[in-house]
């Protein structure tokens, strides 16, 4: 890497790192809280993107701190993967919406089992009633 490009690239101070990491943690926390509290699938997807960006910010901050560009390389990969994943995820959301006519995530819970059906599963195989 040539010197003129590297000249403004100096290690950040401890305070700067702390601020960057706090921001990163804030973004990540925001993503988690949003993901857990909202039911709209698109919002939830956005929240996962927020968590991604929080993590990416931490990478950048450490990269600057340690004067090591591999952290920034990582961020580029994250962005790429996030872009591809966004295309997939939005496609999925559209498909899911078509099935249930709603974006509410609670409409999709058929993998779980209610407590009484769980007890039924504990019975011997031949005696199970038909699954509704």
């Amino acid at each position: 890497m040539s010197a003129d490009l590297a000249a403004p690239f100096v290690p950040a101070s401890g305070t700067e790192l702390s601020i960057a990491l706090l921001l990163s943690a804030f973004l990540f926390g925001l993503g988690i809280v949003g993901f857990l509290s909202r039911r709209n699938m698109i919002i939830m997807f956005l929240c996962t993107e927020l968590m991604f960006q929080g993590a990416a910010l931490a990478f950048v901050a450490f990269s600057r701190q340690h004067m090591d560009v591999s952290g920034q390389v990582f961020v580029i990969f994250i962005l790429t993967v996030a872009a591809a994943e966004a295309a997939l995820a939005l496609g999925l959301v559209v498909l899911l919406y078509r099935c249930r006519e709603t974006l509410n995530a609670e409409a999709w819970s058929s993998l779980g089992e209610s407590v009484d059906s769980a007890d039924r599963a504990a019975e011997p195989i031949g005696t199970q009633r038909g699954i509704a």
Partner: protein, 711 residues
């Protein structure tokens, strides 16, 4: 002096006599053919004829060997077991060839084993005819296997062959007691016989191990030589224990107290089996074993005394039980135990001659008695209760059965001038003239038992064959009537004998009974000749040239027995005195039986009820009827604890091993799953919360570890 006897008794090897091996092979071939008959569903009497012919041929070969007998021989047939290591001599080899050891004792035993086997197989050909096509082949297979095993036991040249035969006769006995395997009582009796015999067989096996360990060989000839060479002075425990272990085996097979309980139950088997295996031959295997191993009973001073005490005790015990039984076959079963007790008493007091002679006479008259009982059972649809049979001798067609049974009873009662009178006398004489006071006591107990024997024997005869004619049919048979009805003496007029009424025996049964009665009478000939013509007793000469005559105690006993001035019986010459007392005992017992069971049968019941009402002795008749509660004691001491233990272990298996451990392992993941199941309700956020929670826990743990590392 024992050494001299032993040296002269060393056997010569005689491979040219290997045709005697046919005595073993013929019954084995007969067994194979009977099995084939069974496989091809043979419906004729073919298996019976095969067996009779094979056994008769065996008997003929034994006769031929007897007439050509010139001294003890070893006949090699083929090499069976042969391991050796090191130098390969004694203690460094284990050799058990399939070879025969034939001395006079062997021939003596084989003569009556094969002879009676032939006769009883002939009898069974008629007796078992109701089972043609179903069990007929199986029955004669069992008889053939028995004869093979018994021949191996008696003729084997080493203790391994004896043990093979010992277990073989046990197997045959088991198979034949359980012949009628549809009846649970027969199956139980077969198991009982087998299991009780296990105890004795363990003793015999340990005895054989100890013999090898101490003498390094198991072949009789080398064994006796080694024993005599080694001297008899050392009484280390491991040598002294040998006679006691062998004795245990003999007691099990010959039904001596405390292992006698299997023999009465063994009467569940068909009657020819009771006659052949459980009266005449197999149960005398114990007597043969002790007679064969007689020198080894000198290894401990108390060994023979133990045999004598046990034998006498068993004789008395079984006689008292026999007095109160109502089943004819059971009375005869207890009389067998009692007479075997006499044989052991004879061995114990040192007269192997008396023991073997009694075995010989007993084989005939007891087989005869059992076969008459079988004829009664066969003719009256299984009826054996002596209270329900009476006056048989006046019924047409039953004369031969009645009078041959009379002969058998006279012989069993040791009536004067019968063969059993002399053979029993030989035993009692040796006991009463013994220098040991306890043997003299045993002799008097034996005399008392002889009186009891005469009583219970003639109780049967006076009840069943004499008195007014009155018969109740049993409940056996193929189309037995629902209620047993009285026939009052005109039973033979019906054609469907099994179904409708009694049917008298035909030629095979009657013929065998007559031959056996003649045999029982002829068994006395050696004694008649000895007394009248001073010919040495034939049995005595047969025994004298075998291992049974070795041993110091025996010679002392004989010296004492023949020195009249040294010992007396009630101040008389022992022979005369014993003959008088024996006659009194026998005739007295018969007279008492005559009074209570023929002259005034009601008085027997009166006496019994009077006895029962006395508080002091009232329990005795009941105890005798219940065999002194020995079965109950065994039940309480052995079977019940085992049963309780089995139940406890079964519960432990069911509830701890199966319930707690095996099922518990299966239930554990389910229980854990139930704990965490609420986390996976299906909602997307639910999963997310778990994930975040897990992440939080990991973070918390990392933080905690980090903090701990820095403080």
């Amino acid at each position: 002096m024992t050494t001299i006897l032993a040296d002269t008794a060393r056997a010569t090897v005689a491979p040219e006599l290997s045709w005697l091996g046919l005595v073993l092979i013929l019954p084995l071939a007969s067994a194979a053919l009977c099995a084939l008959c069974g496989a091809f569903r043979c419906k004729s009497k073919l298996p019976a004829w095969i067996t009779v012919v094979a056994l008769a041929a065996s008997f003929g070969l034994v006769l031929k060997a007897y007439f050509g007998y010139a001294g003890p021989v070893e006949i090699p047939i083929f090499e069976w077991i042969n391991f050796s290591w090191g130098e390969g001599g004694r203690f460094q080899s284990f050799v058990a060839d399939c070879a025969l050891y034939v001395d006079s004792l062997t021939l003596f035993w084989m003569l009556f084993v094969t002879g009676l086997g032939t006769l009883i197989a002939l009898y069974a050909s008629e007796y078992m005819e109701g089972d043609k096509g179903t069990g007929y082949s199986r029955f004669f297979f069992g008889i053939s296997i028995f004869l093979f095993a018994m021949s191996s036991l008696v003729m084997g040249d080493n203790l391994v062959m004896l043990y093979l035969g010992w277990e073989g006769v046990g197997l045959a006995s088991y198979l034949l007691i359980g012949y009628d395997y549809h009846r649970p009582s027969a199956v139980a009796a077969a198991k009982k016989a087998f299991i009780v015999n296990r105890i004795g067989d363990l003793g015999l096996a340990l005895g054989i191990f100890m013999l090898w360990a101490n003498y390094g060989t198991l072949q009789y000839d080398e064994l006796f030589a080694a024993m005599n060479a080694g001297g008899q002075s050392s009484i280390d425990w491991d040598i002294a224990v040998i006679p006691f272990l062998i004795m245990l085996g003999a007691f099990g097979k010959s039904a001596q107290f405390p292992l006698h309980v299997w023999l009465p139950d063994a009467m569940e088997g068909p009657t020819p089996v009771s006659a052949l295996i459980h009266a005449a031959t197999m149960v005398t295997a114990g007597v043969y074993l002790i007679a064969r191993m007689f020198p080894f009973f000198e290894l401990h001073p108390d060994a023979l005394a133990t045999v004598a005490w046990i034998g006498t005790g068993t004789a008395l015990l079984a006689a008292t039980i026999g007095m109160m039984q109502h089943d004819i076959k059971r009375v005869f079963a207890y009389s067998t135990i009692s007479q075997l007790g006499y044989m052991f008493m004879g061995l114990g007091v040192g007269t192997s001659f008396g023991a073997c002679y009694h075995t010989f006479t007993h084989a005939f008259f007891k087989a005869l008695l059992f076969l008459t009982a079988g004829a009664v059972m066969h003719g009256f649809a299984g009826q054996l209760d002596l209270r329900k049979l009476s006056g048989l001798r006046r019924m047409p067609g039953w004369r031969i059965v009645s009078w041959t049974m009379f002969i058998g009873c006279l012989w069993l009662a040791a009536f004067p001038l019968t063969a059993a009178f002399y053979s029993k006398d030989a035993i009692l004489l040796a006991a009463l003239t013994s220098p040991r006071w306890d043997f003299v006591l045993l002799g008097w107990v034996g005399l008392f038992t002889a009186a009891l024997t005469a009583y219970y024997t003639f109780r049967v005869w006076f009840r069943v064959c004499a008195g007014p004619v009155h018969v109740e049919m049993g409940s056996d048979g193929h189309h037995a009537p629902a209620d047993p009805h009285d026939t009052h003496g005109h039973g033979t007029q019906t054609s469907h004998a099994h179904a409708e009424g009694p049917h008298a025996p035909r030629w095979a049964i009657n013929g065998v009974l007559v031959v056996l009665a003649v045999g029982a009478i002829a068994a006395g000939i050696p004694s008649y000749l000895e007394i009248m013509a001073h010919v040495p007793n034939w049995v005595q000469t047969m025994i004298a040239n075998s291992s049974a005559s070795q041993g110091a105690g025996l010679l002392e006993a004989h010296a004492a027995a023949h020195d009249g001035h040294h010992s007396t019986v009630l101040g008389m010459d022992p022979h005369t005195g014993l003959a008088i007392i024996g006659t009194i005992a026998s005739v007295g017992g018969i007279s008492v039986a005559f009074f209570f069971h023929l002259y005034s049968r009601a008085s027997a019941d009166r006496l019994l009820s009077w006895l029962r009402s006395r508080s002091l002795v009232g329990w005795i008749p009941g105890a005798m009827e219940h065999k002194w509660y020995i079965d109950e004691i065994y039940h309480a001491l052995v079977r019940l604890p085992l049963w309780i233990g089995a139940q406890v272990l079964s519960l432990g298996d069911k509830h701890f091993l199966d319930g707690a451990i095996v099922d518990g392992m299966g239930k554990l993941p389910m229980a854990i799953g139930k704990l965490f199941r609420p986390l996976y309700g299906g909602g997307l956020q639910g999963y997310a919360v778990t994930m975040v929670g897990g992440l939080g826990l990991v973070l918390a743990w990392v933080t905690w570890v980090w903090l701990r590392g820095h403080t």
